[in-house]
Point group: C2
Chain length 380, copies 2
């Protein structure tokens, strides 16, 4: 590698004009993958001259066989795709996860890196950076009530740093296997919020992305806990709920927030939806907006006091009143049935909520859609 | 994929205790790769049951053949490795860049994702997150003198957000093909600075990582310019030098800096070393510390006024005086000779500088080493 890299760097210093020629030296096939065509079909390519079988795995195909051309490039072209953000990888001769070396864009979901691309259009444009004012994304450390410094991702909207105004706050929680990086990367928070705010569809707000796996203080690799392989961890034992007020206190103490319930929202996906339900009922005067996305409603650890007396605590919360209690889930979500049960419970108590049922299952595609919709309903 | 993911998520909700059993379902071989042994040798593994040839490519091996075991796992075990951060990928049957699916850790260098691991010890520990107070890493947008908003990465040291003090600033510049993400990710800035500051070896400082490719306003994917494949771009046409004062002005206007030359340093690698040399001589009262890491000294575009009259401008700069002019390069660097020429020029004029010659070439390993050394010399 050393000599090849050395030669490459040397040659490239001769000038950018010769770049395409150098790319031919660097990679015999200057592959374009993915290639998005005018009709929004997409060709994905992999140079694998000696492979016997290459399949494409993704959230827009069901493990399809790719076809080898005479130069050793395997190709697959989709039908025209709807505007979306799509993820994929390859299976090559039984290696069950090969990333696309021609595509520099990856997002980590739990332990795996997935390549992605965006099909432009209404939804894809919401997930792509546009020519609008951009907010700041920061990785910060906050000491919370258990005495440990914990890492969070905080989005501040365009204008925050130059101005003096105070802003409402959305607390946005991840699911099992996630961490404070999940919403920021896979959830496209900066892009969604920048674009909605610039279009006047959402109020400028701070978005705080916490780490709800209390056994760790950060995403893997960013703390003294080391570089473990991310796994489907979670904490549904009351520990996250217990420290949440100190997180809110830290944010109110370090950012120019409007520190009142009318200007606080909470939402989360899966385990984060569970956390949002639990936290908002434990602290019934903390939030005026609650969002449960594909929430794991009834999954709390048994014997944990936080999770006892649900109906009594919901009663207290709904008697306090709030502006929005929003429940969203896909028709194919494996948590669909327990969300039906939860809505039946709310109905039986006469509590008002808004229900949003989408297509699809327990997937990031839905959680991005839900964030895009929920953010537009806040603080108005 | 959908049904497999669905089943996985469902099963995992049954509890974390069954995780290892689920991993066996998810990936037939619950591979550990890389595995760092007690003697600091490392075994790297890839499950590739039908491959005919798998080689390991990295900065610690020279494209070595891996060996297949009877379960279809290809393995390679290194000799004991010195403490360092190491990068690698695979070549599988002619596919020239396969990332390790068992290793979630990647860093992007220009257009390619490389897996990495860290061997503990003095140097590796400097590049790994430790149990010390952590600074903040933020992706911010600043309007600069060309009227465009441009993206930067800014590190603020632990205590900045909770305190009121003012801090010195290091401006840290990337090379060709880099961007505002390069030093932050591949350069391990947060880890190096957190660890040096906690050990009392470096002064608490703000580190500003700019984007020196002025044809773009951000790293790929973070602006309206879209998701191009990163390439060996650069700008050595005077445009970055011209906008630099407005960057410094923006930083001084938005952060609690000590806005004097005694509290400002600049350094950069390769093209960024060139930029550091040019900027510090164009604005001879801006910086008291200048660091050239593997600098591309004589590579400016011809006919650009910024690059004219080098000796006259150096004369002005050195007559103004500064605390440190630090030149570092590896013995095998392809820019070694022009750094010799530059030092001869400085010697002939009688200008004081400090020279650091290392092993190795034009590689990130050296640039991390140089940052670790340079940061300890600043603002004391």
């Amino acid at each position: 590698m050393k000599s090849r890299l050395f030669a490459l760097v040397t040659m490239l210093f001769l000038g950018i004009a010769t770049l395409s020629a150098q790319q031919n030296l660097w990679r015999k096939e200057p592959l374009k993958s993915p290639e998005i065509h005018a009709d929004m079909s997409v060709t994905i390519r992999l140079y694998a001259p000696n492979a016997e079988s290459v399949t494409l795995v993704g959230d827009f195909v069901d493990n399809v066989a790719m076809v080898r051309n005479e130069e050793g490039v395997w190709e697959y072209t989709t039908a025209p795709l709807a505007s979306e953000l799509y993820c994929y990888w390859f299976n090559v001769d039984g290696i069950d996860h090969v990333n696309d070396p021609a595509n520099s864009y990856v997002m980590r979901d739990v332990g795996s890196q997935m390549n992605y691309f965006i099909i432009p259009g209404e939804r894809g444009d919401l997930y792509a950076a546009q020519n609008v004012p951009h907010g700041t994304m920061a990785k910060v450390w906050a000491e919370v009530s258990d005495g440990r410094e914990r890492r969070m991702t905080i989005y501040t909207p365009a204008g925050y740093e130059s101005g003096k105004g105070r802003y409402p706050v959305l607390y946005l929680l991840h699911g099992m296997g996630g961490d404070e990086d999940a919403w920021a990367a896979t959830g496209r928070v900066a892009e969604i919020m920048d674009n909605l705010i610039a279009a006047g569809k959402a109020e400028p707000m701070i978005v705080v992305m916490t780490n709800g796996c209390t056994q760790h203080v950060s995403a893997p690799g960013f703390s003294h806990e080391g570089m473990w392989r991310p796994y489907m961890s979670g904490s549904m034992d009351g520990s996250f709920e217990a420290m949440f007020p100190s997180i809110v206190e830290w944010v109110d103490g370090h950012y120019r927030t409007k520190a009142k319930r009318a200007y606080r929202a909470i939402a989360g996906l899966s385990m984060g939806g569970f956390h949002s339900m639990q936290i908002s009922k434990e602290y019934p005067t903390m939030f005026d907006y609650v969002g449960l996305y594909s929430a794991a409603i009834f999954r709390g650890k048994e014997g944990v006091a936080t999770y006892d007396n649900l109906e009594e605590k919901l009663d207290r919360q709904f008697n306090e009143g709030m502006k929005l209690y929003w429940i969203a889930i896909g028709k194919d979500d494996f948590l669909y049935d327990e969300n039906v049960r939860f809505r039946e419970l709310l109905d039986s108590m006469g509590y008002p909520y808004t229900y949003r049922e989408s297509e699809g299952g327990h997937v990031w595609r839905n959680w991005r859609i839900y964030l895009g919709e929920y953010a537009q309903m806040l603080f108005k």
